[in-house]
Amino acid sequence: MERFVQVLVDGIATGSIYAAVALALVLIFRSTGIVNFAQGEMAMFSTFVAWGLYEAGVPLGFAVLSTLVLSFLAGMAIERTLIRHFEGGEVLTLVIVTLGLFILLNGLAGWIWGFENRAFPSLFPDDAVDVVGVRLSVESLGIVAVLLGVVGLLFLLFQRTKIGLAMRAAALNPESSALVGVRVGTMLMLGWGLAAALGALAGVLVAPRLFLDVNLMGSVLIYAFAAAALGGFDSALGAVVGGWVIGVSENLAGTYVDFIGADLKILVPLGIIFVVLLVRPAGLFGTREVARA
């Protein structure tokens, strides 16, 4: 019986990794209406910056905080200089621009920091807690706690603040937003900044377990997309629950279903999405019919 619970717990821990990146995807989609292919590589790049600061002697906590701020500014700068030029154009053109950014950031990080994999210090102590025969690593609990904290903050931002409301409005209907005095450009810039900071946080959370290298986020991205889609692409809570569902189901199938095995594990999250979307096209929690793209 512990075996099952252990698999469940491992699933939640792995799912939290997908959820962390999925949150950044959802944030950028809610505030700008764009699916950002380069979200993972931006997070990887920020994680390298945090690593650089830490190597230069900056204490971990401070290095992470300053990286979040730097990522926020960098995210805004990317929107201001690059993405804004493509506002209102063909959706696919923008998708390809983010793809170009994906390739560019990957190469740039490799050129600056090299291609070897490195250890990244964990924000949480390294020990584990044994609860009724099931090993719960403090790190996994920490990641889950941070995730729920971020979901709470996003909920407050989008539901309880004027800025959050304006950000959502700007993504939904830029013209009407301008007519009520919302500076749409600033909102989009803010959305990209926050998403970049959130991506950096996700990177810093997952790097200790995945080991930091240029392809840190390459593999996580597809699972993060799956988690975001399962959650409905515009619900933060949906993205986290989506991540957990995928992490657990992937682990369970990998463990108990022989045919699936480790190599076809990827089919599990995609099968889930297929079924969920056929039943509820807006995803588990999503409110909006994401057919616009």
């Binding site: 004027k162 939904l172 009407s176 007519l179 005095g181």
Partner: protein, 236 residues
């Protein structure tokens, strides 16, 4: 000096020239209406004033030029514009739509008071506060759009064909309520409307627009009496 002065207003969509040099003005506290057939360029006037289409000429609002200013800045100067198609935020709730109307204002307490007042003027909106705005009927969405504009406590209220797509009796009711509100607050209004009857009852002054030029202008009841206007726009 009138609140809004427009002189030699030109506007075009690419090669298509729509407004070919308009001159008109709206005095403080008065309600002006622009009539004209479909495609005369009525909507383009409001879009030009709100900076949503590139325009040339002199546009002075309260002594300051609006030409070339971004839409958001124009709104921040107290110009509320209820756009064609109402511009509702479908997936946001009714209350969220209204709160957005008051986005630029920082007097939180006053905004709450205005919210209750709006629910007073339009009870149907009050009943549907938490509902997604997209699920409202055409008439209700029009009320919401007008209410949202009022939440700005605008100095100039611009309305783009409010009667479009809603039942006549609701249209009449909407104009009646709007008339009362504007008179009560001494609101300056620029109304663009195809339904000449409703518009002329509502407005003090009126212009008739034909293919991008002002063909006729004058006091509302004077225009109402004019035979050509009656025959071409009123249909009797």
């Amino acid at each position: 000096m009138s609140l809004l002065e427009v002189e030699g207003l030109h506007a075009a969509y690419g090669p298509v020239r729509v407004l070919q040099g308009l001159d008109f003005s709206v005095e403080q506290g008065r309600k002006a209406a622009v009539l004209g057939p479909n495609g005369a360029g009525k909507t383009t006037i409001l879009r030009a004033l709100s900076g949503m289409v590139n325009a040339r000429g002199r546009v002075e609002f309260d002594g300051q030029s609006l030409v070339g200013k971004p839409t958001a800045e124009i709104a921040r100067r107290g110009v509320a514009h209820v756009p064609e198609g109402r511009g509702t935020f479908g997936s946001l709730t009714v209350e969220e739509n209204l709160r957005l109307g008051a986005y630029v204002r920082s007097d939180g307490e006053e905004v709450r008071k205005d919210l209750h007042q709006v629910y007073g003027w339009f009870p149907r909106l009050g009943e549907r506060q938490g509902q997604a705005a997209g699920s409202l009927s055409g008439g209700e969405q029009q009320m919401l759009a007008v209410a949202r504009a009022l939440m700005l406590r605008p100095r100039l209220l611009m309305l783009d064909e409010p009667s479009l797509g809603i039942a006549p009796i609701i249209g009449k009711e909407l104009f009646r309520a709007l008339g009362e509100i504007c008179d009560e607050h001494g609101m300056t209004v620029l109304l663009v409307e195809q339904n000449a009857g409703l518009a002329l009852d509502f407005a003090d002054h009126a212009y008739v627009l034909e293919s991008g030029r002002i063909a006729l202008s004058g006091e509302a009841d004077q225009i109402k009496g004019d035979d050509d206007v009656r025959r071409s726009y009123m249909g009797y």
